[in-house]
């Protein structure tokens, strides 16, 4: 096995290792925290794809997560569909949402695309509140069943963990295929120069739309998983703050890899649960960490963008750092 094959397999090995965790952890809450890490990682894989490979930005990804979460909740609870069908529907609705936003956004770049996604995210937050018959309004949507596939119900902490990280693994595979095959090269070209890519015959429009849709789809599926794992969703989960948290994870991780953002998603999610992670941590300390959590996100974004534009992943790629920093 040469180094290149190893490199390609590395993320899969990592995911495989992640899947072993429940065998070693008996604390159900810790497993749940790791499950949340996985859900965030799923959104972040999609964002990294959008961000790092297509050079596009979304400040409204929490909206797609919300679309997926509410779709899955509505389909399973109100329509009585099997969970898997609701899960698929969640992906479809989120992807459609992505398509609806992506098409008119095609002529937008940089600041304008960012503002459009921000506006879309805020509009969806309002919609989740106003569409009360479907979403339950501000009171939220409760009584969402555990995920199940056929007769298998994912009820225990470890089975939910496997389900979520399994989904992350599949997302990584999909993302890896997208990035290493021809469209992936097109996307990297996009990030560098759209004109250049176009001159080489790259279908920029197609690549942009497809990336946006795939990215929205991943967020939607993450939302459906969250709904199943927790059993309750409400509009305050899918706000601008959540979108910025996902951005922070992506930026900190580095936008030209997948391992970096996943790692950052795990690390930044754990910040929130420091009291559960470290037994005996005084409540005051945990509380301080929690109250400064958003400061950490904000500051991390600023510092990383200024001093380490390629994120954590970039810091480790010492050789490429010099060549590509500009």
């Amino acid at each position: 096995m040469n180094a290149r094959t190893l490199r390609a397999l590395a993320p899969l090995i990592a995911v495989a290792l992640a899947l072993i965790v429940p065998l070693a952890v008996s604390d159900r809450f810790l497993l749940k925290v790791f499950t949340f890490c996985g859900i965030n990682a799923l959104v972040v894989v999609g964002l990294a794809l959008l961000f790092g490979y297509a050079g596009q930005v979304s400040l409204g990804h929490a909206a797609f997560m919300g679309l997926g979460a509410y779709t899955s909740a509505y389909c399973t609870v109100e329509l009585g569909w099997p969970w898997l069908l609701g899960f698929v529907a969640a992906g479809v609705v989120a992807a459609l949402g992505g398509l609806i936003l992506a098409i008119p956004s095609l002529r937008l770049k940089g600041y304008y695309l960012a503002m459009a996604t921000l506006g879309f995210g805020l509009l969806m937050s309002l919609a989740f509140i106003q569409a009360e018959p479907i979403t339950g309004g501000v009171d939220g949507f409760s009584g969402i069943p555990f995920p199940s596939i056929g007769p298998v119900e994912f009820r225990s902490a470890s089975s939910l963990y496997w389900l979520v990280w399994g989904a992350v693994g599949i997302a990584v595979l999909v993302a890896h295929n997208i990035t290493s095959l021809r469209p992936g090269r097109a996307m990297r070209a996009l990030h560098g120069s759209e004109l250049g890519a176009q001159a080489c015959g790259v279908d920029i429009v197609g690549v942009k739309v497809r990336t946006f849709v795939v990215s929205a789809l991943m967020a939607g599926l993450a939302g459906a998983l969250y709904a199943g794992v927790v059993g309750f969703i409400s509009p305050s989960l899918f706000t601008l703050t959540a979108s910025i948290t996902f951005i922070a994870m992506t930026i900190v991780g580095g936008t030209s890899s997948l391992a970096g953002p996943i790692l950052a998603a795990v690390a930044l999610t754990l910040v929130q649960y420091s009291d559960a992670l470290i037994p005996g941590l005084p409540r005051e300390t945990a509380q301080t960490i929690q109250s400064y959590q958003e400061d950490i996100y904000g500051l991390a974004i600023v510092l990383i963008v200024i001093f380490a534009p390629r994120g954590l992943a970039g810091l480790w790629k010492r050789r490429s750092a010099g060549n590509e920093a500009s």
Binding site: F29, L30, G140, I144, G184, Y273, D275, A313
Partner: protein, 401 residues
């Protein structure tokens, strides 16, 4: 640059991290030993109760006094022998006024700490958010949030200490009717509390002989209610009734006065706090609202149990924290003691089921909000007798007849 998409070093890092996770998780396994330092009069294994409060975020101003109160009273309870000789340990978690964190906190308290009951949350949204975990665990929850949705319809596991809209709204309507007001302009927020109030008003107004001639809503966070008030002004409303608990209420009062509307203004019990008076300034003068008698304990007869409880609550809070308690520590007091008193009545093993049964069996217990009588159909337990109409005058809540 092909093949550089997943750098080796970052993959190694990922592996290192996962190993670290495993190590931490391994430690976590043995981390369930009780950490209570029960040096008080009570001894034995502590009874663990969880409390989920908003100590940061939007409701931090509400949750902080609740935390103060709980810490103060738990010490008092343990000094006095705890629950049947066992000390109480209340594990306080911050939900940061965020539903997701409330869910995570409930999950941790249930699964890591094995609490027998949960007090909280501070807000309605957070209270509702943890319902799934409460149901899956089957433990009782006593909320300190005001939304009627919490106890209506009744969830067998969930109780709430603030007066529910289903008693405050009819009380307010009766008072209006007594003032000869039969046509009201209603303005409610679209959040949980206001929306709930609006529904209760629509149901109760016809019964009370009051007509809602304007029915306006606002979004939490709105900063200008001119449109809604103009519509109420142009209706034949004889009073403005506003059902919102946040800073929006102060804006309504100010906008109404600025628009030259002279109609009397009635508010909800959610504005029975100094922030409303500070926010509305002059415009707060004359605003009426129904709230508990604890705002003015002299309403209780001299020597009554309720008077003693209220006086003691106010003086010990003032002594400990240097300021008068608002409504919220009162909600926390009642929530804590509903659980503690019920736990004292449990004979044999203190299981969640036994505790639940005893909380529901609470009768004639005098708390801060009034006298609680829980039943299977009523998980709030208060009545209109616990309420009093107040008018804001001279920047103070003054009881009116």
């Amino acid at each position: 640059m092909r093949g550089r998409t997943f750098g080796w070093p970052s993959a190694v890092l990922l592996v290192v991290l996962l190993t670290a996770l495993l190590a931490i998780a391994g430690c976590g396994d043995s981390g369930s030993e009780p950490s209570g330092d029960s040096t008080g009069a009570a001894s034995g294994e502590p009874i663990k109760i969880g409390a989920i409060l908003s100590l940061t975020g939007t409701y931090a101003g509400l949750g902080e006094p609740e935390k103060n109160l709980i810490e103060m009273e738990v010490k008092k309870i343990n000094d006095a022998g705890g629950i049947n000789g066992r000390p109480v340990e209340v594990i306080i978690e911050d939900d940061a006024t965020d539903e997701a964190q409330a869910v995570a906190a409930a999950s941790r308290l249930i699964e890591q700490e094995n609490v027998v009951a949960i007090i909280g949350a501070t807000g309605t949204g957070q209270t509702m958010a943890m319902r799934g975990d409460i149901q899956r665990a089957g433990i009782p929850q006593v909320s300190m949030a005001g939304g009627t949705v919490i106890t209506n319809p009744v969830d067998p596991l969930v109780f709430a200490t603030p007066w529910s809209n289903t008693i405050v709204v009819p009380f307010t309507l009766d008072y209006l009717k007594g003032q000869g007001i039969t046509k009201i302009g209603l303005i409610t927020d679209s959040g949980g509390f206001g929306k709930d109030g609006q529904a209760v008003f629509k149901e109760a107004a016809p019964k009370a002989g009051v007509e809602i001639v304007a029915d306006e809503t606002l979004n939490p966070g709105d900063t200008d209610m001119t449109a809604q008030l103009t519509k109420i002004k142009n209706s034949d409303a004889e009073a403005i009734v506003m059902w919102t608990a946040g800073s929006e209420a102060a804006i309504i009062a100010k906008n109404a006065r600025d628009l030259g509307i002279e109609l009397p203004i009635y508010g909800s019990h959610g504005i029975a706090r100094q922030e409303f008076i500070d926010g509305a300034g002059e415009a707060a003068e004359g605003v009426k609202l129904a709230a508990g008698k604890v705002l003015d304990p002299s309403l209780y007869p001299e020597g009554s149990e309720a008077r003693a409880v209220a006086d003691d609550f106010i003086s010990s809070y003032e002594q400990a924290y240097g300021e008068k308690p608002g409504m919220f520590p009162g909600y926390a007091y009642d929530a804590l003691y509903l659980v503690v008193e019920a736990a004292k009545r449990v004979e044999g093993d203190l299981t969640p089921e036994a505790l639940l049964e005893q909380i529901q069996a609470t009768t004639g217990w005098v708390g801060i909000d009034g006298t609680y009588n829980m039943t299977a159909e009523d998980h709030n337990g208060l009545t209109v007798d616990d309420l009093q109409m107040y008018e804001i005058s001279g920047g103070k809540f003054t009881p009116v007849q």
